[in-house]
């Protein structure tokens, strides 16, 4: 079952010669229980896209269906299934954290008592209990974002649409957010749609990711397959403790194909070759002078750069 089905979504900002295509013919199918990411640079049209998914912005053309309901014709239906975390929290800034969560839960239809219980649970889950009575506007940037994220969890919606939920969060808080999302997906099949700048976040938590550039989806797949589609090469980093044994044929071959920075060698190799080389090094005599090694797949950042570059080339062609 699909959560969102989006077809030909186009949104033009402005008119005449100043018109900008913020979204350009976007098609997306987002399954129930998926953690779906939207990755792209500033100005790529990510926020425009999620605001349309929430019925907050009328598309210039195209269709959006949420569990089969037509969001373009009936924008108010989005709020009945999806919770939204926007980038600005001004509406909540003067509220104490606990009350902000409780109020949001009540606005999503919970009774006062149920909203209070939900608030307590969420505060505990995100480690916000100590801040319950502090006003959101007076918290530090990261705490403030986490408190606002907590309001999106209130009322247990089957879909969460989150615009950069972890911006400014420290690693501990970021993991608390990821765990909270994962728990809801596992226990209730909650769909998460997440706008992100953060490559680590994209690689850690997303089932699939749509890469947005200049309003278009230039790639949409699992992070693993996206990375594989760019290159099957992996990065092998070697750090030598002493002089590398260059009379060893594998070491000699690696040296030829590495960028050498002092005692650090960085080579890009097909995954199979890298595994073989590493196996040879760690079981042979070279291991005695090998201080450290890492084997890493390309990051989504590499993917974005590769795909983005290609898209720009196409436009100039």
């Amino acid at each position: 079952m699909l959560s969102y089905a989006v077809r030909g979504l186009t949104r033009r900002h402005g008119a005449g010669e100043h018109a900008v295509l913020a979204n350009d013919g976007i098609d997306l199918d987002i399954g129930r229980g998926e953690v779906f990411g939207i990755l792209g640079p500033n100005g790529a049209g990510k926020t425009t896209l999620v605001r349309q998914l929430m019925g907050l912005l009328r598309p210039t053309s195209g269709s959006i269906h949420l569990f089969g309901a037509d969001v373009v014709a009936h924008p108010e239906t989005a709020g009945r299934a999806a919770a939204y975390l926007g980038q600005d929290d001004g509406a909540l800034a003067d509220l104490p954290v606990a009350l902000a969560i409780e109020t949001t839960a009540r606005l999503r239809g919970l009774t006062r008592a149920a909203a209070r219980r939900a608030g307590r649970d969420i505060l505990e889950e995100l480690g916000l209990v100590a801040l319950a009575d502090r006003s959101i506007g007076r918290l530090s940037g990261g705490q403030r974002r986490l408190a606002t994220f907590a309001t999106a969890l209130a009322g247990d919606r089957p879909v969460l649409v989150l615009d950069e939920p972890t911006t400014g969060l420290d690693p501990v808080a970021r993991r608390a957010v990821w765990r909270a999302l994962d728990r809801r997906r596992a226990s209730a099949g909650v769909t998460v749609i997440l706008v992100t700048h953060n490559v680590l976040e994209a690689e850690t938590v997303l089932d699939r990711v749509a890469v947005l550039d200049e309003g278009r989806v230039i790639a949409c797949d699992t992070p693993g397959r996206l990375k594989a589609s760019v290159s099957d090469a992996v990065r092998l980093d070697l750090v030598w403790r002493g002089d590398p044994p260059t009379d060893d044929p594998v070491v000699a071959a690696l040296e030829r194909r590495s960028a050498v920075t002092g005692r650090r060698w960085t080579a890009r190799l097909p995954a199979g070759e890298a595994r073989e080389a590493l196996g040879w090094l760690t079981t042979g005599p070279a291991f005695a002078v090998l201080d450290d090694f890492t084997l890493a797949t390309p990051s989504l950042e590499d993917v974005y750069l590769a795909l983005g570059g290609r898209a720009r080339d196409l436009e100039h062609a």
């Binding site: 569990f67 709020g79 939204y84 926007g86 509220l95 009540r106 606005l107 699939r208 030829r256």
Partner: protein, 288 residues
């Protein structure tokens, strides 16, 4: 040496474009199992109104208390200033100065501050919070307007009591503050909300709110019989006038209650229209 075969035997560009792993697999969405999702219900008007109102009231504890005092200080200052200027021998003048200064507190908080608040929320995109919730827009507008009208209550009472004592007016008529506060609060907050939500820029919302307050200041406090005929016509067109007149009339020794009721009905009508306009503006703000 078979272990190093590929590495030694295949020199050249290491980074080769290769088939994606599992390229034959479908790359569509993971389809979750489980029962069909039924869209949740819209939150009913009453509970939504109560949640918005109590949420907004809590803001007073956090941020608005200084502003309540500013509003009262301003009106008390005006009362003291005019005490030495106006003809305190005229009962009508005294009644209107006190009533005008009291309604000015409502205008400051409910009209001016609310216009600024909605203007700022709209400019920042912060209205998305409300617009993405399954609540009637009218509940958001009415709940917020109601809370701002409530913020005006302490300042208005302080001003009215101080004014009645300073200008030697009967304190036993101050119960009339209750209906005046409710209806003047609703109408002025409705206007403030409409200005804030309709103004294309937050600066214009601020100017609109200030202007509305200035109108109340000049046309509400200055006794009507001192105004030129043209300005008196403008006075009759301003909603706050009816709140001022209702309160001023109730200080009379012989109150014309029907006149007071009519004044209050005008306030109620303005409240209904302006709140409806504000709710429509909020719906529109969400679909720009």
């Amino acid at each position: 040496m078979s272990a190093v075969g590929p590495l030694a035997a295949v020199p050249g560009p290491i980074i080769a474009r290769a088939a994606a792993d599992g390229a034959d697999e479908a790359s569509g969405p993971a389809v979750g199992a489980g029962p069909a999702v039924v869209l949740g219900r819209r939150t009913a008007f009453g509970p939504a109104l109560a949640a918005v109102y109590t949420g907004q009231l809590a803001r007073a504890r956090v941020a608005r208390i200084p502003l309540l005092f500013v509003a009262a200080f301003q009106s008390v200052g005006i009362l003291l200033l005019l005490r030495g200027v106006v003809d305190t021998g005229s009962e009508t003048t005294r009644e209107q100065v006190v009533a005008g200064a009291s309604v000015l507190v409502v205008a400051f908080v409910a009209l001016n501050l609310l216009a600024q608040r909605f203007g700022a929320l709209r400019a920042a995109g912060a209205l998305d919070y409300y617009l993405s919730l399954p609540v009637p827009r009218s509940a958001v507008v009415l709940g917020t307007a109601g809370s701002y009208a409530t913020f005006a209550v302490p300042g208005t009472i302080v001003t009215a009591v101080f004014g009645a004592l300073l200008y030697d007016l009967p304190l036993d008529r101050l119960w009339m503050l209750a209906p005046v506060l409710v209806l003047a609060g609703a109408s002025l907050a409705g206007l403030g909300a409409a200005i804030g939500l309709l103004a294309p820029k937050p600066e214009l919302a601020t100017v609109g709110g200030q202007l509305g307050m200035s109108v109340v200041l000049f046309l509400g406090i200055i006794p009507a019989d001192r105004l030129p005929v043209v300005v008196r016509a403008v006075r009759a067109a301003v909603p706050s006038t009816y709140a001022v007149d209702a309160l001023a009339d109730s200080f009379h020794r012989h109150v014309h209650w029907w006149g007071v009721v009519v004044d209050l009905l005008v306030c109620a009508a303005v409240a209904v229209v302006s709140l409806a306009v504000a709710a429509a503006a909020l719906r529109r703000a969400g679909r720009a």
